[in-house]
């Protein structure tokens, strides 16, 4: 309950409903509320956090599940012109383990990208022709071409990106941030997840654990904001009672709970009263958040017409901006469909068409609202794709590739117009400035004002952290 305006609103409200009671409980109960401990769950940061002044107040992470091809989108490789259809040299592969899908392949012919690359912005950042909108904000981007990871399959890889560990059970990045930094808003959850409606029929499934809280208390898990049914589960009254009736019900519940607290003394009861109040506020704040009718036409010029379609990537990007404005700390959008084991040439343009405009618009929009400076935006998948062909080179697909891939970051504390890290001529191994997933996590926490080695939680006798015992902040990409 950080917000004094909100606080006084609540008190007035309580005064009203306790005052209305014909029972004499009003004054006593109010006194109890005033002296009650603050609710445990929602808002407080851990003592000592942030560790230092943050560069970013919030994160918007556009996760591209399935793994987009760095070869065709980001990592410009003129060297592949000559190498096209040649066999990948064994010393370059150097024993890299392959997935069960290409392990049986006799040949590994290199295939260059069929898409053209061009330079953008003052920085001259190379990007694929499939990303025309992103080109428009190139000078705000930091493109990291030297990411690498350990996992070679989707489930462990995406679990690693989300939680710093390949096997299930650890808290997700967003839940660590909520746990460490608390909430900036009392009207919305501090960690919200949105899923783009999936249309690619080979898309990888995703799972609750990706925004789960692992061994952290479960209130820190991500809350799904859905594009079908209730935007937040159980938000709406299925009986469609009007707001006044709902308020009456709530007041009766709170009066009885407050009365009970007086006798028992369990502070948990006061917390429950406060949570019912927040639930009531969410019944107003969430529909207000989701009501994009108040957006001017210019918004849809920027994000594209599909931003009017709930469940589209552009819509979720727009919602991400609206949540950022309302104090949500960690916003994650999951977009599926990048797992192109065949026909990269046909499939990639479909996916970039779904994602390019919205992603770029989000950057531009945050910038025009002067929010990019303290909002960290991230775009990327769970690993990269092989430079060699999976299947017939004429209709080539690309298999999973952990050794190098690209993601981009922008905003809060990140240097714009920077292409960071290099891969070798084959786009197979990192050649310079490697960034491991643990480093990526350490850097995000750093930007949020957290020393990744000091945000820990003791579980089963061990002080766990997001970065395990690894991770270095990537100084080279900081503004």
């Amino acid at each position: 309950m950080n917000n004094p305006i909100e606080h006084s609103y609540m008190l007035t409200n309580r005064r009203q409903f306790f005052g209305r009671a014909s029972t004499g409980i009003g004054v006593a109960a109010l006194a109890s509320m005033l002296h009650a401990d603050e609710p445990k769950g929602n808002s407080k940061a851990l003592p000592g956090l942030p560790h230092f002044a943050p560069k970013a107040k919030r994160v918007i992470y556009l996760l591209q599940s399935g793994a987009p091809s760095q070869v065709d989108l980001f990592d410009y490789k003129p060297s592949l012109e000559k190498l096209h259809l040649q066999e990948l040299p064994a010393e370059i592969r150097s024993g890299q383990r392959l997935t069960g899908m290409t392990a049986g392949q006799a040949k590994f012919p290199l295939v260059k990208s069929p898409f053209k690359f061009q330079q953008h912005g003052e920085s001259g950042m190379w990007l694929s022709e499939l990303l025309p909108h992103l080109g428009g904000v190139a000078d705000d981007l930091c493109l990291i071409n030297s990411m690498h990871t350990e996992a070679i399959n989707h489930d462990p890889a995406i679990t690693f990106f989300q939680s710093g560990h390949q096997q299930p059970g650890r808290p997700s990045l967003g839940s660590w941030l909520s746990y460490g930094l608390g909430s900036e808003t009392d009207n919305l959850p501090s960690f919200v997840v949105m899923l783009t409606r999936n249309s690619f029929n080979q898309a990888q499934p995703i799972y609750d654990r990706l925004w789960g809280s692992g061994f952290l208390p479960s209130q820190f898990q991500g809350v799904k904001l859905r594009s079908q049914g209730d935007p937040v589960l159980y938000l709406n009254d299925p009986a469609k009672l009007d707001a006044r009736t709902r308020r009456n019900l709530l007041d009766s519940i709170s009066k009885l709970n407050a009365k009970r607290e007086q006798e028992v003394g369990d502070p948990e009861i006061n917390t429950r009263i406060a949570q019912y109040e927040m639930a009531y506020r969410m019944q107003m704040s969430v529909p207000e958040l989701a009501n994009i009718k108040d957006e001017p036409e210019s918004t849809f010029n920027l994000y594209g017409e599909s931003a009017k379609d709930p469940g589209s990537h552009a819509y979720n990007c727009l919602m991400a901006r609206r949540m950022a404005e309302r104090g949500v700390r960690f916003i994650q959008v999951f977009h599926r469909g990048w797992d192109h084991h065949s026909n990269c040439e046909g499939n990639l343009p479909t996916l970039t068409k779904q994602t390019d405009q919205g992603s770029a618009a989000l950057i531009a929009d945050l910038k025009q609202r002067d929010m990019l400076k303290d909002t960290l935006v991230i775009w990327g998948g769970e690993f990269g794709r092989t430079v060699f062909a999976q299947g017939n080179p004429a209709r080539f697909g690309r298999d999973h590739h952990p050794r190098c891939f690209s993601i981009w970051m922008a905003g809060g504390g990140i240097q714009g117009g920077l292409t960071y890290g290099k891969t070798d001529n084959y786009c197979y191994n990192v050649a310079e400035n490697d960034v491991h997933v643990h480093d990526f996590h350490a850097t995000i926490l750093h930007l949020m004002g957290i020393d990744h080695e000091r945000l820990t939680h003791r579980f089963q006798g061990r002080d766990y952290r997001l970065t395990d015992v690894h991770g270095n902040v990537v100084d080279g990409i900081l503004a």
């Binding site: 399959n153 499934p205 469609k240 028992v264 502070p267 006798g461």
Partner: protein, 1021 residues
């Protein structure tokens, strides 16, 4: 070790004669286990502990001999009795940041009081003690207490001694109605019935409470309640986890757990059978079934995985789960290196691992070995099924005559909706000589020879004109391969072409081919979309993932323009199966036509004749139409329908065999076990054989060198951990926290027990009672400690918020399962039958498919109907990647891993669930129905009845006033608002009692929603 045990015995004896003053004096001296161990463990062991690979400067501080030895530097870390020559002291007190320990990058410096403790300890001789939990417990004597009339049993002496030491007094006994409710939830997971409460209140015999305890211990719900928490430990789920999270059938094992608890299987047998029942001499099928415990881990089916990587994870999971559950040890920390804090080396980890490493299994899709075993609950279950079917059948004749809802239903039928007329085939031929047999439902069942290619020609007639589309339903049938829709052995079909010819019956010379403009299907296999059936290409067509999806599929073909001759039309439909895949015919087609406008056409739709009858006033219907409508209504919508559906389902359950359950099995010699470098599956180093950690007592000499020997070792009398860990976890379920708060860690980093003697007393008691779990539970709930009131007022509450000293009774929110079961029980909806397959209660639409909509690997949540919606929550289908949101919101874990203690949070999402979840709104309505059905005279009486249902007690005057106010408010709201009434009462599937005054029912429903949301309702107080 012997010496230490003796020492503890002496101390225990001394404890009896110690006065309070003396024990205080004793307390001030510094001891290793109490003061020093956790300090060294936290601050020093990372670099100077058991891990040989990370040991700095050759110094280890976890063993006295090493800590006092001369170091390479010539110094001594600890010189007992002398701080000046103890380098440890010099280093921790150094002003120089480069010599000071611990180094800044390893966390916070020592506080002054911590330094003082170390100083006192070194000065007094730096004596070490074995870590408390590694010493075999002995039965301590009861401590002396002042308030000697308070204790009811041994537990209370230990608790009271603690209270008196802290100058606290116990809280008085809870009120009887509080006690019965607390006891009912703790033992059965359900609220007491009002009769149970009344009986107990009226029972003034001295043993009234004891008898109540016995009746709950004997209730079959007891086993369900205990099983519920065991499933968290066992990471039980109904799906395989990982990426695709496909379904598994493992519930027969769950039945085993329920039954074991209800039979009060001694905990040592419970342990041995679950870990190694397969290895017992002459193992019974039930003992083998028990080993399903260690097959509850996730199993991946992801295409690209390397099998050995995942098989390794499964073995790790078994070892880590088993060690956590029975020993409270975090052995997993020694997977990659020697344990940092506890005496478990990496080698010892892999020696334990070897016990679990002989299962003949694979990493990818490793669902073997399995065994088909009958549920131990089968007999009771079959009897209860038969009883329920009898009851339902008896109710059926009356229900069939009940047409009271017909007109209301008829009004909901829209003229312009999607309607279909099922065609009765006049003839049906196969080009390949297969047998086509018309069925009562006008479908055609195909059987007999199964040619490579087959063309069916089906003829039928209609009098309709302006036909806009035809529908082809491909139904399933038990006689078809796999019970699916197609004739191929994998249940698939491929429809490569479809043609329709229309001929006038009045003038057969008028005839034309009907062209289709569009085809759509409710299910298309990837790359086999139904539109391909319209093109002439024989290589393409419509298929439906028969191998993975044994369900019906429906296609609709929309005509370019409406057709149909005045005076009747003969339809000749040709279905071609000419793909290169042979024997892919449709198994049971059924043809319908429609005249609905194209935009209204849907896959499902009413029979057009029904619509015709329903949309004219009752008085104008012909007798034929009235009968048609009545028949349709009773068999599809009326009260008889739900009874019939339920009977069919129950009969299916009756006839169902038990699915094979995954079990453990050893195949000696199948593989060797190696230490894995960094825990990586592909980096084996030294070979090891089975063994237990050296810091624990050895396996008894005669034991089998196998999982069975390991299981027997766990429950051997000298094992210091199993009984303590078990007792502690049960204590946790009653009191919220264990006596050791870190119930998941009994190692060096775990917390010390709040009442060490009590823990040991109970551990020994459990062992010496032949591991009698009900005896342990009886002991706990009959203690004065347990029976204290939890209502103590704020200041006392805040003095000990977590109730570690136990100066009051337990008070905590019910578990997720209990919150929902409570709502079902107080509303009379709960169907309390024990055991069986998992069920699918209410869930908001789309939750499964929004995460995974990959054809062949995904499906929509198949929400249940009828009584499936009202079973106890432990039977709720548990999908690991998307657990039931009702359970998840209330802190249930995902069960991807063993969970030893759930969070207990208090969130707005929980409020929303209880306020708005259909399950809870419906429960409120049925609770109101019950209230109104009581022979009560006034709202005051009804209000008290309802309040007692959810809280177990009567409201006081203030509460009565608030509640009556609320009721008046709701009466005002619903008076004259039929829409609001209908909106509220129509939530949920359970039929509304239409004999009640609906305004009154709505007001009381709203009122009961208040009650179901009270803190007190969802709290065990």
């Amino acid at each position: 070790m012997q010496r230490i045990i003796l020492l503890i015995k002496i101390l225990a004896v001394a404890g009896i004669i110690c006065t309070t003053g003396l024990s205080k004096a004793q307390e001030s001296s510094v001891t290793f286990n109490k003061d020093i161990r956790s300090l060294l463990s936290n601050k020093c062991f990372t670099c100077h502990g058991p891990d040989t690979n990370k040991r700095e400067a050759g110094l280890r501080l976890d063993v006295r001999d090493a800590a006092v030895a001369r170091l390479d530097s010539g110094q001594h870390a600890i010189t007992p009795g002398n701080i000046a020559t103890s380098e440890l002291w010099v280093r921790i007190t150094s002003d120089d940041e480069f010599t000071r320990m611990p180094p800044a990058e390893h966390g916070d410096a020592l506080t002054e009081s911590e330094k003082e403790l170390l100083k006192q300890w070194i000065l007094s001789g730096a004596e070490y003690q074995t870590h408390w939990s590694f010493v075999t417990p002995t039965r301590p004597s009861l401590p002396a207490v002042q308030r000697s009339n308070w204790p009811e049993n041994a537990i209370d002496y230990f608790v009271l001694a603690g209270l008196e030491k802290n100058e606290l007094t116990p809280t008085s006994r809870a009120k009887k109605e509080t006690l019965v409710r607390r006891l009912a939830f703790d033992l059965t997971g359900l609220p007491p019935t009002l009769d149970e409460i009344d009986d107990f209140l009226a029972d003034e015999a001295p043993d009234a409470y004891q008898r109540l305890v016995e009746s709950y211990l004997a209730d079959p719900s007891y086993g369900e309640n205990l099983a519920s928490s065991w499933l968290d430990l066992a990471r039980y789920a109904d799906t395989n986890g990982y990426q695709y999270d496909t379904e598994r059938q493992h519930w027969v094992w769950r039945d085993w757990v329920i039954n074991a608890y209800n039979q009060n299987k001694p905990f040592d047998e419970f342990t041995i059978e679950q870990i190694a029942g397969d290895l017992l001499p002459n193992a019974t099928p039930q003992q083998v079934l028990a080993t399903g415990f260690n097959r509850n881990h996730g199993i991946t089916i992801e295409g690209g995985v390397i099998g050995e990587e995942y098989r390794t994870e499964y073995v790790m999971d078994r070892l880590i789960t088993t060690s956590s559950v029975w020993m409270g040890l975090t052995v997993g920390c020694a997977r990659c290196h020697d344990h940092k804090y506890d005496p478990i080396s990496q080698k010892e980890f892999y020696q334990l691992y070897a016990f679990f490493n002989l299962v003949p299994e694979r990493g990818q899709s490793g669902f073997q070995p399995q065994m088909q075993v009958t549920s131990p609950l089968a007999e009771t279950r079959l009897a209860s099924l038969a009883g329920r079917i009898n009851d339902l059948e008896a109710a059926l004749p009356a229900a069939r005559k009940d047409l009271s809802g017909l007109e209301k239903w008829a009004q909901t039928i829209k003229k312009n909706g999607s309607t279909w007329r099922i065609q009765t085939p006049v003839s049906a031929k196969s080009s390949g000589g297969t047998t086509i047999t018309p069925q009562d439902d006008h479908s055609l069942l195909v059987s007999g020879v199964n040619p490579q290619k087959d063309i069916y020609t089906i003829e039928s007639e209609t009098r309709q004109t302006a036909i806009t589309a035809i529908r082809l339903e491909c139904l399933t049938h038990p006689s078809l391969p796999g019970g699916g829709p197609g004739r191929h052995t994998n249940s698939n079909f491929v429809l490569t072409g479809i043609e329709l010819k229309a001929t006038s019956t009045a003038d057969p010379s008028q005839s034309h081919v009907v062209k289709f403009s569009e085809a759509r299907a409710d299910y298309n296999q990837a790359n086999w979309h139904v539109s391909a059936a319209l093109d002439p290409n024989k290589a393409t067509g419509w298929a439906v993932d028969g191998p993975t999806r044994k369900e019906p599929a429906t296609a609709i073909f929309i005509t370019e323009k409406p057709f149909g001759f005045e005076g009747g039309t003969k339809l000749s439909l040709t279905l071609r199966h000419e793909a290169s895949f042979g024997t892919h015919g449709i198994g049971r087609p059924r043809i319908s036509i429609t005249t609905s406008p194209t935009r209204a056409i849907a896959f499902k739709g009413l029979d057009a004749a029904i619509v015709d009858a329903a949309t004219i006033p009752a008085t104008q219907r012909t007798a034929e139409q009235a009968k048609l409508l009545a028949d349709y209504y009773t068999s599809n919508y009326g009260p008889a329908k739900s009874i019939e559906t339920e009977i069919v389902r129950l009969r299916q359950l009756q006839s169902q065999g038990f699915p094979p359950t995954m079990i453990m099995k050893d195949q000696p010699g199948i593989r060797k076990t190696h230490i894995l470098n960094r825990g990586q599956y592909n980096e084996p180093t030294t070979e090891v054989s089975t063994g237990t950690p050296g810091a624990l007592p050895p396996m008894p000499g005669e034991s089998e060198n196998s999982r069975l020997g390991f299981a027997r070792w766990l429950t051997s009398s000298g094992h210091p951990l199993t009984a303590r860990v078990t007792v502690n976890r049960y204590w946790q379920t009653f009191f919220g926290n264990g006596l050791v708060k870190t119930s998941e860690d009994f190692g060096n980093q775990g917390e010390l027990p709040s009442h060490p003697e009590l823990l040991d007393y109970l551990a020994v008691e459990l062992q010496q009672s032949d591991w009698d779990i009900k005896h342990l539970h009886r002991l706990i709930v009959t203690s004065a400690t347990y029976q204290q009131s939890s209502s103590v007022g704020r200041s006392k509450y805040l003095r000990d918020p977590e109730n570690r000293l136990l100066a009051r009774g337990p008070r905590m929110r019910l578990t997720a399962e209990q919150v929902r079961d409570n709502a079902l029980a107080v509303s009379g909806l709960l169907l309390n039958t024990v055991g069986g397959p998992s069920v699918y209660p209410y869930q908001p639409k789309g939750i499964w498919l929004e995460l995974n909509n990959r054809p062949g690997y995904s499906k929509a949540y198949p929400q249940g109907t009828g009584e499936q919606l009202y079973r106890r929550s432990l039977y709720t289908f548990w999908k690991r990647t998307v657990p039931s949101p009702m359970m998840k919101t209330l802190d249930a874990p995902e069960r991807e891993l063993c969970t030893l203690k759930r969070s207990l949070t208090n969130t707005p999402l929980q409020s929303l669930l209880l306020l708005n979840g259909i399950q809870f709104v419906e429960a409120a309505r049925q609770m109101a129905t019950q209230v109104l059905a009581q022979p009560l005279d006034s709202d005051q009486q009804r209000m008290e009845f309802a309040f007692r249902l959810t809280t177990g007690r009567s409201p006081d005057e203030l509460e009565s006033n608030i509640l009556l106010d609320a009721l008046r408010q709701q009466n005002e709201t619903f008076k004259n608002d039929s829409e609001a009434i209908n909106n509220l009462l129509s939530v949920g599937d359970y039929p509304v009692d239409t004999t009640l005054n609906q305004t009154q029912l709505a007001s009381w429903t709203a009122f009961c929603r208040i009650l179901l949301n009270l803190d007190e309702t969802i709290t065990k107080g």
